[in-house]
């Protein structure tokens, strides 16, 4: 994994972020990521990130759970070992609804959390580069990646002009979890409207 150079700018006010993100993208710099202590609604849109599909994954896991529960209980009670329970029908759908429901929820929840951890590469013993320890406290940390074309000093000045309080340059080994956000980002087009 390659060692990369990043210019890190820390903002102490989330209001300045939207403007800064917009300007960085416009200027053609490669915006690596913004690290915030709490979710900031609309920042993902401003950064040009696509919506997450994790809820769709959850839906699919849920449906899988329902079908698994239904087909399994049907197989057990009609094919494998049909029990006569008080003369009631073997295929007793209403009585299975609670288990089908619970299993749906279980599969959806467990599946989604595993997917979330996989996508974000969150697990114990995962080592990640933390650009600033106060990114989980009160600073909003914008990280710009240095490409061969870009000028480190210029980016620093640029971040300063955007209102970053603390600016430094860091080298970090990009992990494979950076994945597709590590690819060349699409440059900002004038025609594209960014809603902040």
């Amino acid at each position: 994994m390659a060692l990369k150079k990043f210019v890190v700018g820390c903002f102490d006010e989330e209001g300045a972020l939207f403007d800064a993100v917009k300007k960085v993208r416009k200027s053609g710099h490669k915006l690596h990521d913004v690290y915030t202590p709490f979710p900031i609604h609309g920042l993902d849109k401003a950064m040009g990130l696509r919506d997450t599909s994790i809820h769709t994954a959850g839906f699919i896991y849920g449906i899988c759970g329902t079908t698994t529960a239904l087909s399994f209980i049907t197989w057990v009670f009609t094919k494998d070992w049909p029990l006569n329970i008080g003369g009631k029908p073997h295929f007793a759908l209403p009585a299975w609804l609670p288990i089908m429901f619970e299993f749906t929820v279980l599969c959806a929840a467990v599946g989604m959390v595993i997917t979330f951890c996989y996508l974000c590469q969150l697990a114990p013993f995962v080592r990640k580069h933390h650009f600033h320890p106060r990114a989980t406290d009160d600073l909003f940390v914008m990280v710009i990646e240095c490409t061969p074309k870009s000028d480190e000093g210029e980016i620093k000045g640029f971040l300063g002009s955007l209102g970053a309080k603390e600016i430094n340059v860091q080298q970090a080994e990009t992990g494979w979890w950076l994945g597709r956000y590590d690819k060349e980002q699409k440059l900002y087009h004038e025609t594209e409207t960014v809603s902040a």
């Binding site: 990521d33 913004v34 690290y35 915030t36 202590p37 709490f38 979710p39 900031i40 920042l43 993902d44 990130l49 919506d51 997450t52 994790i54 809820h55 959850g58 849920g62 399994f72 057990v76 009670f77 494998d80 070992w81 029990l83 329970i85 009631k88 007793a92 009585a95 299975w96 609670p98 288990i99 429901f101 619970e102 299993f103 929820v105 279980l106 959806a108 929840a109 467990v110 989604m112 959390v113 979330f116 951890c117 996508l119 974000c120 590469q121 969150l122 697990a123 114990p124 013993f125 995962v126 080592r127 990640k128 933390h130 320890p133 106060r134 990114a135 989980t136 406290d137 009160d138 940390v141």
Partner: protein, 496 residues
């Protein structure tokens, strides 16, 4: 309100004031705080050494837990005969305690899930602790059916697995199996919901840690959370969907627990009112337990600015509402027992419960008094905002809710259809009581550890709502608030 020509009237200037600060709702976080102060306030108790009070509480809990472990040891070694269960009362204290704990385990998910969907901002102050309480309560609840099995090493028989004695399966039509699925699903989902919410806050603790072991421990626990925007986006989506899933789940759990009773043909149990009545009772007792814990926690950890009087009051309102729903359910049951003209049902209610001088008549009146009458004092604002009253009421409510389950279970089965099999007076042995006390030990041991090692308030969520209710922000808004609506109107338009 931007009607031209009218903009300079004093009335409209006042309306501009209303625009930024609600006159009705108090702020969710008291005092002027910035983000760092929030972190400081909530993480400080984790970083400080535990207080003497904490040690005392913790050691008492561990002692109770050990007594519980010994009680269970007796029960496993000598059999369920160590308990005073008899011919008709096959379920006594154990199932009462089971239902009671499960009920308590309802408030956390209600607060974190249903109130999230209803966009109730106040939930952020209390949700983390309430969710933790839920998980610990469900853990305690789970002990009872498991140890009641007697041969507990065969507990896995409740799971649908192809056993070695031929392809014999569990009964999927049985409410008891539904319960297995409901409780285990509820526990798993609550745990995932709670822990995924904790990740960013554990990362906050990790990044502040000075000690090596602390950094390492919280590094492990926080799964390497960085706070990336993309991660937050997924995290938000995950929380919302988990809340959506937990909402029907939390309602289903106590519904299924009530099916254990309602689908039987025992007088006093065989009623269709049970599911909503159980769910309301669960929320009632759960909120009471949240109050018991938080009234103390906020004081000891000095979190009064985050768990404010508003929170206490709102939860007291929920208590009076759900207590009254439970009251209506009691009266409906009673009415139907009389109106339905079923002699067995009528006997269960009129003789076994309503008759004060019947063997268990006292427990019915204790239940009525604690659950229906006593919460009515919360119609008074002054009492809703009184911490001492709140604390005692929360304990009384949980005593009442324990007796509700006791009344439902014992008074229905101690005298059934055949008078010859009417049982002798059932009272628990010391080991039955010990088991119950042991679950208290388990619950409070877990809670003490949680309050020492985990942030008891959702740090990131508080920061998220701080702008809306923080004093600092309001000061900055002063300029805008004192502008005339006309200026404001022009500024807003210029911005777009």
């Amino acid at each position: 309100m931007n009607a031209p020509g009218d903009t300079h009237s004093p009335k409209l200037n006042n309306m501009a004031l209303l625009k930024y600060e609600s006159q009705v709702r108090a702020p969710l976080v008291d005092g002027s705080k910035d983000y760092h102060q929030v972190t400081e306030d909530i993480v400080r108790p984790i970083e400080a050494p535990p207080s003497r009070l904490w040690w005392i509480g913790f050691l008492i809990s561990v002692a109770l837990l050990l007594f519980g472990v010994y009680s269970i040891y007796r029960e496993v070694t000598y059999g369920v005969g160590q308990w005073n269960l008899n011919k008709t009362i096959g379920w006594g204290w154990d199932i009462t305690n089971f239902v009671w704990w499960v009920g308590i385990g309802h408030a956390g998910t209600l607060i974190s899930a249903i109130l999230l969907l209803f966009r109730q901002g106040w939930r952020t102050g209390v949700n983390r602790a309430a969710e933790a309480m839920t998980i610990f309560a469900v853990m305690c609840a789970g002990q009872f059916p498991i140890w009641h099995m007697g041969r507990v090493w065969m507990a896995f028989f409740v799971l649908p697995y192809p056993n070695t004695r031929g392809p014999l399966w569990v009964n999927f039509n049985s409410p008891l199996l539904w319960d297995v699925f409901a409780i285990s699903t509820y526990f798993t989902v609550s745990l995932l919901f709670w822990y995924s919410g904790l990740l960013p806050d554990l990362a906050t603790v990790r990044d502040r840690a000075k000690l090596k072991w602390r950094k390492y421990m919280y590094g492990l626990l926080s799964f390497g959370w960085t706070g990336s925007t993309k991660h937050w986006q997924r995290h938000e989506s995950l929380s919302l969907v988990l809340a959506g899933l937990s909402t029907p789940l939390v309602l289903s759990v106590h519904t299924v627990v009530s099916f254990d009773f309602a689908t039987s043909v025992v007088p006093g149990w065989h009623t269709t009112i049970f599911p909503p009545y159980f769910v309301a009772g669960a929320i009632f007792s759960g909120f009471a337990m949240v109050q018991t814990l938080l009234v103390v926690t906020r004081k000891v950890l000095k979190l009064e600015d985050y768990i404010t009087m508003e929170h206490i009051e709102v939860m007291n309102k929920v208590i009076v509402l759900t207590g009254s729903i439970v009251g209506i359910a009691y009266l409906t049951e009673l009415f139907i027992a009389w109106y339905g003209q079923n002699p067995y049902e009528s006997h269960a209610f009129m003789k076994n419960r309503l008759d004060l001088f019947s063997p268990y008549g006292w427990s019915y009146y204790l239940m009525m008094g604690c659950n229906v009458l006593s919460p009515q004092i919360f119609w008074f604002r002054k009492l809703r905002r009184n911490l001492v009253v709140t604390f005692f009421m929360s304990v009384i409510v949980n005593i009442g809710m324990w007796f509700e389950r006791f009344v439902i279970i014992v008074t229905s089965i101690y005298r059934d259809y055949i008078p010859s099999s009417w049982s002798t007076y059932y009272r628990p042995t010391i080991w039955e009581v010990g088991f119950y006390l042991g679950t208290f030990g388990l619950f409070f041991t877990c809670y003490f550890l949680f309050s020492k090692f985990f942030p008891v308030i959702a740090v990131a969520e508080i920061k998220h709502i701080l702008k809306r209710s923080g004093e600092n922000y309001k000061k900055k808004m002063d300029k805008i608030e004192h502008e005339s609506p006309e200026e404001l109107f022009h500024e807003v338009h210029a911005a777009h």
